[in-house]
Amino acid sequence: MKSFQALDDGLAVAGQHRKPAPLVRMPRQRLRRLTFPAVILAVIWGVLADWRLESWLFGGPAVLLALWLLTLLPPARRWTMAPLAALRFAGWFAVQAVRGAVDVSLRAVSPRMPLNPGFRSWRTTLPEGTPRIMLANAVSLLPGTLSAEIEGQRLVIHLLDCHTDLAAEIGRLEARIAAVFNLPAGKETAA
């Protein structure tokens, strides 16, 4: 921060009081915030393209574009994750996703096609941000549920069978997501 200030002063002294380029103006903190995503994105591209040198002709601009988009988003709150709970969630979720796929496939190929679709609303106790996004995405892969809208705390869920016990299915999911982010289960958490 200090060195940038010095640079500005230097420009002013030289009598060229024009606006410096945005990159120079970018606070160092913001640059540091982009370092980690830059490394992650570069590694993802590298793995996808087998680390071929010529692939960076496309990968380089793509990574830069993604980083620029990231600067347009509001800074996300940092969440602490419990690794063990995350692992347990991944295992449980994989089983649920298989259950969900088998359920919808059987409905699709069954001659009777048992469907009783409808919308239901669910009030989530998870705080805004990553936990709520994770809930909405996970709901769509659970058996018979699809997240259709999030408005604040309210989640609109489409059900293949509107007699599904929402409280049991989503409640369990919420508790597991809360555990992943070290949140007190079933309680309102201020964002």
Partner: protein, 97 residues
């Protein structure tokens, strides 16, 4: 043996893709069709990826397959949500378009 398991997984994945497509064609409205696409096709891709990973065996290939499956699952769930939201906001009259 491993090759056999790999091929069986790819076969099972194909079955889920077929079931997802049957759902897309048979289900009565857009929301039910989205259920079929996000869930059945997601598992279909995961099974085919698992089978392909077993058949290939190289670390680079396995990492690539894992990344592709993870991104497909993420974008599938997000796109399903966005399509459903758009349909709801567009109103009931053209929800089944």
């Amino acid at each position: 043996m491993i090759a056999l398991i790999g091929m069986a997984l790819i076969g099972a994945g194909t079955l889920f893709f077929i079931a997802g497509t049957v759902g897309l064609l048979r289900f009565p409205d857009l929301y039910c069709q989205l259920h079929a696409l996000t869930k059945a096709d997601g598992l279909g891709l995961a099974l085919i990826g698992l089978g392909a990973a077993l058949l290939s065996g190289s670390v680079g290939d396995i990492a690539r397959i894992a990344l592709i499956c993870a991104f497909a699952a993420l974008s599938g769930a997000t796109c399903g949500h966005l399509i459903a939201r758009h349909a709801r906001r567009a109103g009931q009259e053209d929800a089944d378009a």
